[in-house]
Structure formats: structure tokens, C-alpha cells
């Protein structure tokens, strides 16, 4: 609250501001609004939550930046570490997938992309992560890219998937953040945000 009296650099788009204003009305207090606000920030900052993004959320919700950072770093789906690549490939490593060959999938991806788990390719295209159960054991071994599930995976399918993703201009990480923002909003609130974005464009 009194920590950063000077306003941080604000980068939210008109659409994001409209969305946040709608979200604020969903909760009894602004503290409860931190999680969805962080999804907006993750989308606005290109799939990443650098300290500036956290400062912006804190400023907009009148919370202390320390608190917001505490929340953001608690959850693994907020990318508070290094900036992720355009697409994030998450390999399920839980029981069923492991039994069905998740580690072979992981090793193949590591070899193919030339990176280890948790790293990002130098061209900023892919980030590779091992994650806990994705709740789709019927498709083991499973990998998740943004809001898409792919499985069961083998080497040909991985090659095809990587090829497709390379040609996909839009970031799957941002798309996932956006999808998560949208599920928080009612239809009329989405419409309001669209109009706000258009008003700026014109």
C-alpha cells in the first residue's frame, strides 16, 4: 500500500482494464480478485509475470506488491520465473503416464528441442516442463500445450505436433491465459471488454 507510492508503469490494454473492472464486481473484496487479475496480467505481458506485471496488478487492486507476488509465486501456472517460450509443452509425469512411457516422451522432447525440463529453446519457441497429473489417464502418455491435450504420444505424433506449433504464430501460453480470463467473465462482460478495445482502436 505505502510501499510503492509512485505509480508503476501501467501496460494493461483498454480491454484488460475493462475486464478487470468487471471482475472486481465479482468478489467481496479486491484481495479475492488477485488470481484472475494475474491471469489478465499474464496475458497482457506475453505469457510472463515479471515484477512490473505484479506491481501493476498490485496497483490496480490497491494491494501491496509483496502480497501479490506471494500469491503469484505460490501457483505454478503463473510464469513468474524466466520468460517462457511462445509455446509451453507440459509432459505429465504421474503414475499412468510414467507407466505408459512419459519419460520416453520427455527424453525424446529434450533431445529433439536440445533443452532440459524447465528450460526454453534459445529461439524462444518452446518451453518444456514436467507436470503432475493432468487428469487424462485414458490418453497416457499425455502432453499439454496451452489449453490443448495431446495423447497418447509417440515420436511421430511429437514430430507432427512440434511442426504444427512452429508454424503457429499465436502464443499458446497467452491463449491459455486468455481462456482462463474469459471463463471468469459473463457474456455481457466480454462484450463490454470488446467494445472498450474497439473504442480505443477507433
Amino acid at each position: 500500500m505505502s510501499q510503492s507510492p509512485d505509480t508503476p508503469n501501467l501496460r494493461f490494454s483498454a480491454k484488460a482494464v475493462a475486464e478487470l473492472e468487471s471482475l472486481k464486481t465479482h468478489y467481496p473484496n479486491l484481495k479475492a480478485c488477485i488470481l484472475p487479475a494475474l491471469w489478465i496480467a499474464q496475458r497482457e505481458y506475453g505469457g510472463h509475470l515479471p515484477p512490473e506485471a505484479i506491481a501493476e496488478v498490485a496497483h490496480r487492486l490497491k494491494r501491496s506488491p509483496a502480497e501479490v507476488q506471494g500469491v503469484a509465486t505460490f501457483y505454478s501456472m503463473y510464469n513468474t520465473g524466466h520468460k517462457p517460450g511462445r509455446h509451453m509443452i507440459e509432459v505429465c509425469t504421474c503414475l499412468t503416464c510414467s507407466v505408459c512411457g512419459a519419460w520416453d516422451v520427455a527424453a525424446y522432447l529434450e533431445q529433439k528441442l536440445g533443452i532440459k525440463m524447465g528450460e526454453t529453446t534459445p529461439d524462444g519457441m518452446f518451453t518444456l516442463h514436467g507436470v503432475e497429473c493432468l487428469n487424462a489417464c485414458d490418453r497416457a502418455p499425455l502432453i499439454q500445450v496451452g489449453d490443448e491435450y495431446h495423447g497418447p504420444m509417440d515420436e511421430q505424433k511429437i514430430d507432427a505436433l512440434l511442426e504444427r506449433l512452429r508454424n503457429e504464430p499465436e502464443s499458446k501460453v497467452v491463449a491459455l491465459a486468455d481462456a482462463l480470463v474469459q471463463v471468469h467473465l459473463k457474456e455481457e462482460e466480454r462484450e463490454k471488454a470488446r467494445r472498450a478495445a474497439e473504442a480505443v482502436r477507433n
Partner: protein, 688 residues
Amino acid sequence: MARKTDAPPVNITINGIDLQVPKGELIVESVKRLGLEIPIFCYHPRMKPVGMCRMCLVEVGMKQPDGSVRKMPKPQAACTLPASEGLVIFTDTEQIHKDRKGVLEFLLINHPLDCPICDRGGECPLQNNTLFYGPSTSRFVEMKRHAVKAYPLSKHVTLDLERCIQCGRCVRFTEEISGDAQLAFRHRGAEMQPVTFELEEFTSKFSGNTIEICPVGALTSSHYRFRARPWDLETAPGICTMCSNGCNVWFDRRKGKLVRINGRTNEAVNEEWTCDKGKFGTDWMNNPRRASDVKVRRGDGFSRADWAEAYAEILERFREGGHEVAGLAGPMLSNEDLYLLRRMFDETFGSSNLDHRMTSVQGPAVEPPSFTIEGLEDEKGAFVFGASLSDESPIVYLRLRKAWYRQGARICVATSRPDDADAFAAVSVRYPQGGEAEFLRSLVAELRVQLEGGRSFGELADLASTLLETRGPILATESLWNLDQAGEVLAQLRLAAELLGVSLNVMALGANGQGAEELGVRPDAFDRTGLGTRQILEACADGRIRALWLAGVDPFEAFPDRSLVQRALENVEYLVVQTALETEAAAYASVVLPITAPGESDGSFTNVERRVQAFEKAVDPPAEAKPAWRVFSELMVRAEPRTPHFSAREILAEIAREVPAFQGVEWSAARDGGVLLGARRPLSRARS
């Protein structure tokens, strides 16, 4: 936790003993009624329970209709368990001892056990609980978590992350008590760290408290780190003198030297908190520039002298000096010092030119404050005018914040600059610097309009309506005498107080500023007429005053007009500087007399709410330093044979006899909790 409770009583049983407690009382508090103890880490009676550490596990059962007790299958955390009818608690079963052992074993997995070099070692709750309830050996042979050692969060607080047991006390303190929310837990699991945003500086004005409430040595004082072991410390109760709030503190000293100040519990004043100014105020007492010798000017330099020589010289200049001598008194002089100083000027020097006020102008006396710090908690609101309370009166600030946090009090703030209190104020209004009087005139006008049923628009109207709804005390500080239109501001404040039917409190800023007012250390007290501070300095500058006595004050630091001070000190013929430090003014002195710092002698202070609090010598003074009152007493004896005063207690007894406001004040009562002066007026009309 709750101060007063209207909750109905319920019957509970603890370890087979039946007792009645208010419904909803936390079990961790209820067991204290039986003199039992439940080990805790994260629970703190002044903060909301979180149940993070699991140390306070108890077995819980419910009385069944047939009289038997059905136990819950798992133990419960006593700190989050409210009392309810028929609850049966077991704190001493085999199961609980096993559970406690398990919790401690987990807590110790990542704890470095560097107790032999840890500041907390010897006064550490983790050590104590482990000794009483924990396992004697560890089964953990794996690698411990390693983290940064000695990370400086600020110039006061050093974080040793490895030792943290993640109880969240510090985090909750900054959120609930100080309100700046600067600390938060980052990351999770074993990696969780209580840190500031991006490891920025921990700038809270109350950061030192987190060191005290940390149940391990994770947050340590940068100043005290590795300076002493707790069992080597001698500790003595004292009163903080860095501002007028009069916080109760412990002075911890090692080999006679002050190394640490901790908060001491006094529910009526500081609860158990301190501000950083007070907590880390050890430095000035250990300052290498402490004045320790009596010095007299000989030619261009000083030569050491003995007290008798100095007294003789001083008496020659001051005795019967009348209007040609004057004195200025500092904010850290005790009641006893001030009382004898005034008597010495009255009786020995025959002068009324004596003042303690260091504001730009010296106005007529203002009625003494009538609020109490504790009473602020029950107010529906308060009006803070022109004061930055978090700096000027930190403990009053904490109470106001608590009133808002706990009871939803609506605090109104009107200042010329953004203030910390804005964060919780119901209404906060800015006026331009220099526009105080005009602002208050419009506020008074708006109050009149609203009292007659009207209302205009804008923030001023909001302020006025909130004030009329809450009718809490008006809080200002004596810094209003630094304003250009101080008289008019005060008149308007009085008018506003009258319209609202509330008390106007002009709070003193110096540790004993209120005491100086009560004891008449001002030229117009007791129907005398003398010169005020500004006039004294002016008279010194043009030679009308020939001898000036600076008792524990450096006007270069305290008085706003530096050039006037310089002219005064350069031109006055004879200057006595009675000081604890080699101040700038001391360079101009004819005689330098070393005095003891507060805590180095007995004495009493009157704080901002007119509470007289006595303290006894805790630290040894530098070799020749004397308490100021002893100097005054010895001078008076030399001037005229009489029985000198031998102790501060004796002087306080005399004050109680001679000064009406102090009637009935006794040393022992003043030492143990303090005595409020004067008949109390009701806090505000709206409450009755």
C-alpha cells in the same frame, strides 16, 4: 485476543477440569486460565490465528448425552479452535506428546541448528519447545535446505532464511498491525520465504517488531547481530524517549553498555510494540561524541575543569541575573529535571526567561490533551489534522489503525502532504501548504451548514459529515506552531471541536514536552512574564540577554530558524551548554556540563496522554555525567544553603505536593504502568 467480550459463557473441560469461558474464546487462550501452557509458534495473541505451525495441537472431544466423551479422531490446533459448550480438551495425553514431537521433528528438518552462533539462542521459542516437547535426536540424515544467510532486508532487519520455520508472524504483523503489508511469503513449500516485493528495502516504520516476534533467529537486528548472548544481558525496564508516546521498553545491556531495546508490555500505552526510531535508538547513547567531561572555555579552547569550578563560574554570571539571563530546556529532560530547572530560574536566578518550546512561534498555553491512547480503540472515529502520525506519534498511529482494523473506526485525515494514514482513512483531504487556516475556516463553515441540516458537495462536505457522524477527538501536534497562521489555525480547530462537541488535543512531540507544559517551563506559567524561545534568542542576538543556559537542547537542531540561533549563540556573552552529546551548540559554549541520557539515571516522563511514567537507572553514564536535576540542585545549594535533593523519587514526591496537576502521583505507581494526570474529561459527547 478480544479486549472486552460480551459473549455468553460456555462450559468446557480441560484435562478433566471444568471451567467457564466466553463462547468463541480460542482454546489456546482458555488453557492459560488454568496456568497451563500450550507450545506455540505462529499464534500471537494480538494477531488473527492462522494455524500454520501445528505446534499447539490438542486432543478434542465432545461430551455425549450419556456423560461419556467422544474424541475426535485427529488432534486439532488450539489456536484456531473456539470454545463451545461441552468441549473437552486434553493437552497432556500420550498422543499429544507424540504429535508435538512429530511437529517439532518436521520443523527441525530444515532448521540449521546453528544455535551456538544464533542471536536467538537462549531466548528462542524453537529451542525451548524442542527442549520441552521435542525429540532429542533427529532421524533426518539427508541434505538440509540451504538458503541465503544474513540477507539485509533493510538497514535494521537482517534475514537469515535458513532458520525460518514459516510461521508467518512477521507477514501478519505487517499486514494486520503496521498495515504496510511489506512482507509476504514468496514461493511455497520448503522454498517459502518471508520477504519484501523483489527484495526491495523493508521500509516499514515498525519493522523492528518483526524481529521481536520472530520465534526463531530468522529476522535479526542488524545492529544487535552477534553483539551479545541473551544470558549475558542484564535487562532493566525503561521508557523510550525518542518521541512523546512514552513506550515502555526493556534496556538490554552487556558489560554496562546498551546493546538492544525491546518492547515492554503496557496495554495502556504501546501494548508491546515499538517503532523503529525507538527500538534502534541505542546508537545515540553509545555515540562516540558523548560529552563526558566538564569543560570551561579558556581563551580559544576548552580546558577540563571540575564541577566546583564550573559552578562558581556559572553562579557568578547567573545569580540574580533577572531578565538578563535565560534558559532553554530540551525535550528529554525528566519531570524532576524540569521542575528543579524552573525552581532554579525562579529562586536563584530570579528570571522567568525559560522555555522548552522549539517551534517557530510560542503561543499562549493550550488546554492539555484529554484523549487516552487506549481509549482511541473505542472511538468511532478521529480527526487527524496536519500531523503525520506515523512519524510524529507512531504509537497513536498504531492505535488509530487498530481502531479501524478491529472496530471499523472512521478516521479522517487532513494534511498538506500524502500520509501513511491515508491507507485506512475513511476520508483524507489535502490542503495546500500555507492554506491551513483557510481550509479550517471552510470546514467550520461546512460544519455549521450541516448542523443546520444543509450540505454542500465535495470532499470537504464528506469530511464534515463523517466528523459529525463519528465525533471522535481532534488530534493535532504542536508542530502547528510552526505554521504561519498558527493562532488562527488553533482558533478554528477550537471552533470545530466546539461545534462537534469533541476534545481538541494538541500533542507534544518531545519525550517530555507534555511534562514541561505541566510543570510550567514556559515564560507565562504561574502568572509570570518572561521571554519565549524566539524572543530569548533575539534578545541574545542583540545583547539584551547576557547569559544563556541550554539544558539538554541543541537549538541548531531543534529550532527552525538556524540563522537566528547562530546570531544568538555568537553574541551571547556567557553560554552554559548542558548536553549528553558534543552538539553543534557545544562549540559555542563557555561551559559544557555533561548530562546523563535518559535511562542512565532515575526519572519520570509525562507522555502525550499525560501519563507520568517513572524509570530507574538502567545503564551506566559516562564518567562525569550527572543527571540534570542534580546539577540544578547542587547549584541552588551553593547559591543559598539549604537541604539538597538526593533522589529523583524525592523530587517527584515534592512535585506531587507542589504542582496541582501532579497531585497524588507516586513513584511506585508511576513506575509500574504509569499514572494519568488530572481529572479526565469524557472522551467525546457522542459516546455517552
